[in-house]
């Protein structure tokens, strides 16, 4: 086994070593607060998580509506027990197209590598695995490409932290935008996080809910703050319906991955991004990295919390008439029915027409809680697709209405930027390009000065 300290042997060095020796296996990393894991195929990175008890990718797809809540269990199971190399197959299984899946996996690997690169020390251990266990179609990414993206992010990160000093920061949309003589144009991905800014959630909550990683979300939020469309608040507030969705995922994560936090958005946040760990994570020091196994008492507590939460979801669905009426300009799809009014924005009714929490989901959750495998989707694929399209269209209309209420409009001139376009994986630099004169001059000067 290859093992050591990240203080002595930093993550890029470990990746370089594994790349040079074309290893296949699982790299387990133990940080101060969380344990991370990187799946390596032929020396290249196939999948990575900065917190083995969380499925950030599932959160991202759940938030974007690309998968139904019933499907996230399959993704979480794919991550569990060292099955990260099966993630591309799991994505295909829930209907994600190959190109999209590759982009998602790359984003996830970079996000995790970025988060783990900011750890203050830790340990690593590499367990080799037979290459034959890896599906041939598994996309992989050159370590140098990933770490190059991480380095670029590190450069930007200082500026972001200057604007958003802590994941515990709470944001709200400003009542009066700075531009009064024209429309405000924002990018669709900015809108995606803007809809989660409610004066209640912390930055860490938003990062977790979107599942897009600390850097991407913090950068979007920072830009909104810099544009004076959003400002920092101080206090956090009650649970929202979106947090309930996250809790649905969290219940699965607790069961399958051994996560220890019961509900998104209510856990204490790190004081500062400077010493940040993945948001809302709890130490899993007592658990073996390769096979998280919470203590029996913890399991009972998690199961009880998950069952109680599942019951509350069912109750919310069956008794919509008991919830308060929506207010005229609030984000009606963001607040939980039982939530107490916030200081400035009142929680409103839940998504009473939200088909994402169906009886089927309830059965799926119960199946998992009872130790069974996740139930397959009951509806045919075509129906499921149609339902997703309808829901997406409804969501878009709601967003447009909310946008108008806020005096904002989605930018039509700006094409939707796919993050994959910005950080397209490339092949490793060939040795042919390495021996040009400039590079040699740098090498010679560098060695002379070493």
């Amino acid at each position: 086994m290859l093992a050591g300290s990240l203080n002595e042997f930093a993550l890029p060095d470990v990746f370089a070593l594994l790349a040079s020796t074309r290893k296949t296996g699982v790299l387990n990393l133990t940080g101060a607060e969380t344990d991370g894991r990187v799946w390596i195929v032929g020396g290249q990175l196939a999948y990575a998580v900065a917190d083995v008890t969380r499925s950030q990718l599932a959160a991202r797809l759940l938030h974007s509506g690309e998968v139904e809540p019933a499907d996230v269990a399959a993704l979480v199971h794919a991550q569990a027990a060292g099955n990260g190399m099966q993630m591309s197959a799991a994505l295909a299984g829930v209907g994600v197209q190959v190109d999209r899946a590759t982009g998602l996996l790359y984003d996830q690997v970079v996000d995790a590598a970025f988060d783990m690169s900011r750890w203050n020390g830790g340990d690593f251990a590499f367990d080799a695995a037979p290459a034959g266990d890896v599906p041939e179609s598994t996309p992989t990414f050159a370590a140098e490409t990933v770490m190059s993206a991480v380095r670029s992010r590190m450069t930007e990160w200082e500026g972001i932290v200057a604007t958003l000093p802590s994941p515990a920061s709470v944001l709200r949309a400003v009542p009066r935008p700075p531009t009064r003589d024209g429309a405000i144009q924002i990018l669709p991905e900015q809108w995606e996080v803007l809809t989660l800014i409610d004066g209640i959630r912390t930055v860490g909550d938003i990062i977790q809910l979107t599942g897009q990683g600390q850097f991407v979300v913090a950068k979007l939020l920072s830009a909104l703050v810099d544009a004076a469309l959003v400002e920092l608040r101080e206090a956090a507030g009650p649970l929202t319906i979106t947090q309930q969705r996250a809790a649905h995922l969290a219940a699965i994560e607790q069961e399958v991955l051994g996560a220890t936090e019961p509900t998104a958005g209510v856990a204490p946040q790190p004081d500062s991004f400077a010493a940040a760990q993945p948001v809302a994570a709890q130490p899993a020091a007592a658990q073996p990295v390769a096979a998280p196994a919470p203590a029996a008492a913890d399991v009972d507590a998690h199961l009880q919390a998950a069952q109680q939460h599942a019951a509350s979801l069912a109750e919310a669905e069956t008794q919509p008439e008991t919830h308060p009426e929506p207010q005229q300009e609030d984000h009606s799809d963001l607040f939980a029915p039982a939530a107490e009014p916030a200081a400035e924005e009142s929680p409103a009714e839940p998504e009473t027409s939200d088909e994402r929490f169906s009886d089927e989901d309830q059965r799926s959750l119960e199946s998992i809680l009872n130790g069974g495998s996740p139930a397959p989707a009951a509806e045919p694929a075509a129906d499921s697709t149609e339902r997703t399209d309808t829901t997406a269209a409804t969501d878009d209309e709601e967003r447009i209405r909310e946008l108008a209420a806020l005096g904002l409009s989605l930018s039509s001139g700006e094409p939707v930027r796919d993050q994959q376009d910005e950080e397209t994986p490339t092949q490793p630099e060939s040795s042919d390009s390495a021996d040009d004169d400039d590079l040699l001059s740098r090498l010679i000067d560098g060695v002379k000065g070493a």
Partner: protein, 181 residues
């Protein structure tokens, strides 16, 4: 960037990388089990690789890989040589008996393509540098354009000189390739 240090068993490859590396060299060693390969005073041998790093500037790092010297680990040579900028063949002047092994290793590496390399002779007695170089060239049937130097790999400045010599060899190869084109 990647540079490979190769050579027969027990000539000082791990020492060279340790002298150059700014991190603790990751070495996969095992106790010497004796037999024909045993070297006096050597208690452990590299069985997979040595790995060190030298930072050139903010965006460029040089990785140093040392191959296992024993032939039974030959499979690692191919893995480690992939994508290398160039390689160093290290010899021990006090053990000319292992020069034959160096020929085998050199043939193995040069068969993978025209990758620049130099030959470095370690543990040379003072004043015998020229003779040692001539002997090494003779044993290894080294072409005239290949650089052969002597160095005490325990000395950091001389170890850096090894790298500089290799980079010059790479530059030579580049110029030659341009001329041919």
């Amino acid at each position: 960037m990647k540079v490979v240090v190769t050579g027969p068993y027990g000539v000082g490859k791990t020492t060279l990388i340790r002298t150059l590396s700014e991190i603790n060299v990751l070495t996969t060693e095992r106790k010497v089990s004796g037999g024909d390969d045993a070297v006096e005073g050597k208690t452990a041998t590299t069985v997979a690789m040595d790995f060190g790093r030298l930072t050139i500037d903010e965006s460029l790092q040089l990785y140093l890989f040392g191959t296992p010297g024993q032939k039974r680990f030959e499979f690692m040579w191919e893995i480690l040589s992939e994508g290398m900028l160039g390689f160093v063949v290290l010899l021990d002047d006090s053990r000319p008996d292992v020069h034959e092994q160096a020929i085998e290793i050199l043939d193995n590496f040069t068969s993978r393509g025209e990758v620049p390399y130099i030959i470095v002779i370690n543990k040379v007695e003072e004043g015998r540098e020229d003779a040692s170089i001539r002997r090494a060239r003779h044993f290894l049937r080294t072409p005239e354009h290949i650089r052969v130097i002597c160095a005490d790999v325990r000395d950091r400045e001389q170890a850096k000189g090894v790298l500089l010599e290799l980079f010059e060899a790479v530059r030579d190869a580049k110029r030659t390739a341009r001329t041919r084109a």
